[in-house]
Every structure is written in structure tokens, then in C-alpha cells.
Symmetry: C2
Subunit: 334 residues, 2 copies
């Protein structure tokens, strides 16, 4: 069946509100869940709802958090997520962050004490639509082994980047520092599928294609070996140390059975390219995109998502079984 985005948003927001989110927070979180589903980012769409609900039930996240946002320097906003979802802190800081970046040329938001359980691209794409070059990173619970270590320390630590183009939607990418995201491995386990070689190791540090062995005591591997590890390390510094937040290995979610998120941090950087490159910036990005297409890169980052978004203009396709699950989630919390 097909549901239009507004109807799906309403349904997801009601599910989240009944599970313990304030109406305001439910609306913010529902937006990113629906955006991922609409763009076909299956691992971060409706698939994540049971994780949100289990986490809320566990008492690990404060669904009614009202984040505080403080300007600590002309370019820096410091947000305390107050143990709520990171998107709520970003929503609270968004307008001020944009104004600061316009006035100063750059601005950054440093959020700590917040949970991020969604795709990361929805956090930056709107800034690129507003003309900014935007970069964000978050740290997560420990998931990957790096630099010859025996135990996981760093998170899957995703990064998302976006910049405006001359026409069409912004150039956007969003990628975990692991070969595959935790969400993808979770989906493989749920579907009873193996993961490709090189994705992770088991509890003994041996390569495995069994998602369960990776998730239960094993670890994910960084993309590109020590280079992906370098990226993951930088993100741990920016998202946790710089924001005053927790490192992934300091996570305490294990004390809350059912919790699937980490209380961690997020760093969001905005740059106003009109200050350095004038009005021609987005035309230059078009030149870059054209060169890549001409060299045979038919599918650039976000191309697939944007096509699916177009295809979902008249409604987001939802399997009947998923719709039934959504209805069950609504019932369960009534």
C-alpha cells in the first residue's frame, strides 16, 4: 500500500508520543524516520521504530527532554541534549546556527548528552538547501576495532556532508566509519542473511560473515583499514571530546535492558561559501558533478535516494506487513 508522507508522519509521531516522547519531540523524530523511509534508506526508516520504542521503554532516553543551547563563542553553540534525541537539540539550535554562520562565515553546534538513532543526512541536507556547506559527525557506542586492537573502542561514527548545487537537490553523502553500518548488520540478522567478508569479526577476533557473531561480542571493521580508523578517531574527538560528551566506550546503555542508543555527541559545521567563492559556488559544484558524470559515474551519492524520493511523491510504498506492525505499535501503546 501507499501512504502519503504527511499521513505516515502523523502515524509515526503518534506511535512515538504514546511511547513516551513529548508531542514536540515526537514530531522532530518522526520527521527523520519518515524522511529515511521516503528515500528508501530502509535501515534507518520504519525499521528503526521498534528500537526507538525499546529504548524509550528502557528509561535510557528522556522523551520529554528540552535541550539547552548556549552561545559560547561568536561561532560556537553548545547544546546539552538533556538526555533526549539529538535531532531535538539541532531543531532548537537551527535558526541561531544559520544566523551565526551567515554573520561570521562559519558556525558550529556542539551537542552532548544526546541520542542519535537516525540517518545523518537529514541533519545536513536542509542547510545545503539554504546555501551552506554542511558537515556533521556523531559518535556511537563502541562497535569497531582499530589500529591492531583486540577490542572495540570507537563507534561506527557516521559523517554526513552536503553542499548546494546549481540545480537539483544538494550533493549529499552520509556514511558510517565502519564498512557497514550497525543498522545494516542488524537488518541482515533480522533477515537471516550473511554479511559480506570484511565487514566484521567475531568475539575471538576472527573474520565472520555471521551478523549475529559480529553483534554479539564481535566487532565491526572500519572502512579502508587504518584510514577509516583515522576518520572514526577524528569523529570520536569532534563529537565527544570537543562537545564535552561521552566517548562510545563510556556508554552506560547496558544498564538499561532494551536500550539501543548511546548517550553521545554531535558536531555540526556550517560554512557560507558565498563569503569565499561568491555567487558562483553552486555553479562550480555543477561543473564538478558534470565532470564525474562525463567520466562515467552514473550514480553519485544521494542519486538513488533522490530518485526514490521522486518516486514517493504520490505516496510512500509500505508493505502490508509493515503497516500491520505500525498499527500494532499504535495499539500496544494505547
Amino acid at each position: 500500500m501507499r501512504l502519503d508522507a504527511a499521513a505516515l508522519h502523523d502515524m509515526v509521531a503518534r506511535i512515538l508520543a504514546r511511547a513516551g516522547l513529548s508531542a514536540e519531540n515526537a514530531a522532530v523524530v518522526a520527521r527523520v524516520v519518515v524522511a529515511a523511509e521516503q528515500d528508501g534508506t530502509a535501515s534507518h526508516g520504519l525499521f528503526r521504530l521498534p528500537g526507538y520504542l525499546a529504548t524509550l521503554r528502557s528509561g535510557w532516553v528522556d522523551g520529554h527532554a528540552v535541550p539547552t543551547v548556549t552561545q559560547v563563542a561568536p561561532t560556537l553553540l553548545l547544546a546539552d541534549g538533556c538526555n533526549g534525541f539529538a535531532q531535538v537539540a539541532l531543531a532548537a539550535a537551527r535558526d541561531r546556527l544559520s544566523e551565526m554562520a551567515r554573520a561570521q562565515g562559519m558556525a558550529a553546534l556542539c551537542t552532548s548528552n544526546a541520542h542519535h538513532f537516525a540517518a545523518l543526512w537529514p541533519d545536513v541536507e536542509p542547510f545545503a538547501r539554504a546555501g551552506f556547506v554542511a558537515l556533521t559527525v556523531i559518535n556511537t557506542r563502541s562497535h569497531i576495532v582499530v589500529f591492531g586492537g583486540r577490542r572495540k573502542v570507537l563507534g561506527t561514527n557516521p559523517m554526513a556532508f552536503a553542499c548546494p548545487r546549481g540545480d537539483g537537490p544538494p550533493l549529499v553523502w552520509d556514511q558510517a566509519a565502519s564498512v557497514r553500518s550497525q543498522g545494516e548488520v542488524l537488518r541482515a540478522r533480522r533477515a537471516g542473511r550473511a554479511v559480506p567478508p570484511g565487514v566484521g569479526v567475531d568475539a575471538a577476533g576472527q573474520p565472520t560473515e555471521d551478523p549475529g557473531a559480529i553483534l554479539d561480542g564481535g566487532a565491526l571493521l572500519p572502512f579502508g583499514g587504518h584510514k577509516g580508523a583515522g576518520i572514526a578517531l577524528m569523529i570520536e574527538v569532534l563529537a565527544a571530546a570537543l562537545t564535552g560528551g561521552r566517548f562510545g566506550f563510556e556508554d552506560r546503555s547496558a544498564a538499561y535492558p532494551g536500550a539501543q542508543t548511546s548517550n553521545a555527541g554531535q558536531f555540526v559545521l556550517l560554512i557560507d561559501p558565498s563569503r569565499t567563492a561568491g555567487t558562483g559556488f553552486s555553479a562550480r559544484i555543477e561543473t564538478l558533478v558534470a565532470a564525474l558524470r562525463e567520466a562515467g559515474s552514473e550514480r553519485l551519492p544521494a542519486d538513488a535516494r533522490h530518485s526514490r524520493r521522486l518516486a514517493a511523491r504520490d505516496g510512500i510504498e509500505i508493505a502490508d506487513s509493515v503497516h500491520a506492525e505500525l498499527l500494532a505499535m499504535l495499539q500496544a501503546h494505547q
Copy 2:
């Protein structure tokens, strides 16, 4: 034989000055060449001198460039490298950039029309010693094929990151967006060694372990597949589009036989962590480093370089053949 760093610097600066660099510019470039040699970054040390000389002889770089630095926003410096080396522009901007970052919380330098032929970590490590979190990226000539393309478009586009630690030298890494840097492949060709599988493709797009086939019409591959490609793409945006500089595929060095550099751009970002994380920032980095060591990561990024630097306190070990080559270079330009 062993030469002390000052003596080697003097020798390298004289070679560069005789090859066409102004005394000021020669001193700046010699510093990064010697720093790489001292830290054992062989592919970016004295090994690069013939490339500098060939490039200067070709007329492609202006050895007497006096870069201009303009503040275009409270946080943004725009530098025109005036077709000289990028390190000269950075040296001209360094003090002002630091002052701006202290005052505003963040600051960035956007350099265009400049050549970068050195290791990248020497550009950020001093800022980390001064207490900043520092990130820099440069774009290079087209070297890698990405996103299913048939021809190379993006550069090897290195990135370097540094942040202060509680004690000891800063945490620093420096890595190309390709599996191996162009410099490493050049060295393999010079040494008659094959490169590992996965490093590059030949002119027909087929995997090859022959460095010559990669360098002559072939291409390098990004680290970690499409994720490294995403990093390379972001760097092309930050270093070229944002700075008003040239993309790698717009390089015109082919018109200057012998030229080995690209006229491209550099982006340098400084963040003052004391504004967001207070005085405890470097202690937090120590906590992160300790966690990695405890998990078995005996060798973190820059550890090997820093040990070699310590070992070179009483002199940098130079093979007799290399010393003879240096003397020959001095003679050739007298």
C-alpha cells in the same frame, strides 16, 4: 651518515633557492621537506626534491610568489597563493588565523592558486601544539576513479587532522583519499617494486600491481570503495570549490613538461576546544588514547613518526647515496 636537522634544512633551502625559490619561500618549503625526512615519511622527504626541482625548471610554479591574504568574514581568510607553494600562503596567514580562531572560536583559511607537494601533517601539527583542533585538506591533480566511473576525476586529496593531548606530542594523522598516495606509487616504481592488489587500475580499467601502469594512463583507487570516494569528493569541494581554486581535472601542468604539482587549493580549519570543553579537553584526549592502548592498539597514528623523530634528535640518518645526490643538486644549480 647523520646530519642535524638545521644543517639539512640549510642544504635543502640552498638547493631550492638555487632552483628558483626566493630565500623566504625556500626556507618555508625546506622546513616541510626536512620535517618529513626527520619523521621517516620517506615518500615526502628528500625523495621529493627532484620533483620540486623539475617543477621549478618547468616554469609551472612561481618560486618568488608573495601570497595575498584577505579577511573575507570574521572567521574566514582567503589566500591567493599567486602560483607559489601552499605552505608559503599558510605561513603568511598563520598568525592571523590563530588570532581569529582564538577570538571567534573557529577560523578557516581558504587558499587557491597554490601548489602543495609535501606531507600534510606539518601544516596542522603546530596548531595542535598551540591548543587547537586542526583539520586541513588539499586537492591534487586527477588520480582516482570513483563511483563506477571509467576515468579519473578526483585527486588523491589528502586530509590531515591534529588535536592536542594531555602530554606528549599531539594526536595527528595524515592520509590520502586513495589506498596509497601518489608518492608511494612513485617510490614503488623507482624501486622497481610492485604495489599491493587493490591500489590501482591500468589504462583499461583493469586491476594491476604495476606502479608504472597505474601512473601512466591508469588510476588509483579510493580507500574503502565508495566511502573513500565520498571523502575525496568532499575534499574536492572544500579545497577547490570553496576556496575559488581549480579542480584537479582543470589542472594544466601537462603544458609544462616536468611539472609534478597541481595548481590547486587548501582548506585549513581551526577550532578552539577550550571554548566548548574547557581546560579539560586534552585530558579527554588522553582518556581516549588510553582506552585505545588498553584495547591493544599499540601503534596509533603518528606514533611511528614521533619515535623516529626522537631517534633523529642527534641527527637525521641519510644514506651516502642520498647525500651524494644532494651535493649533485647543489652543484647542478650553482
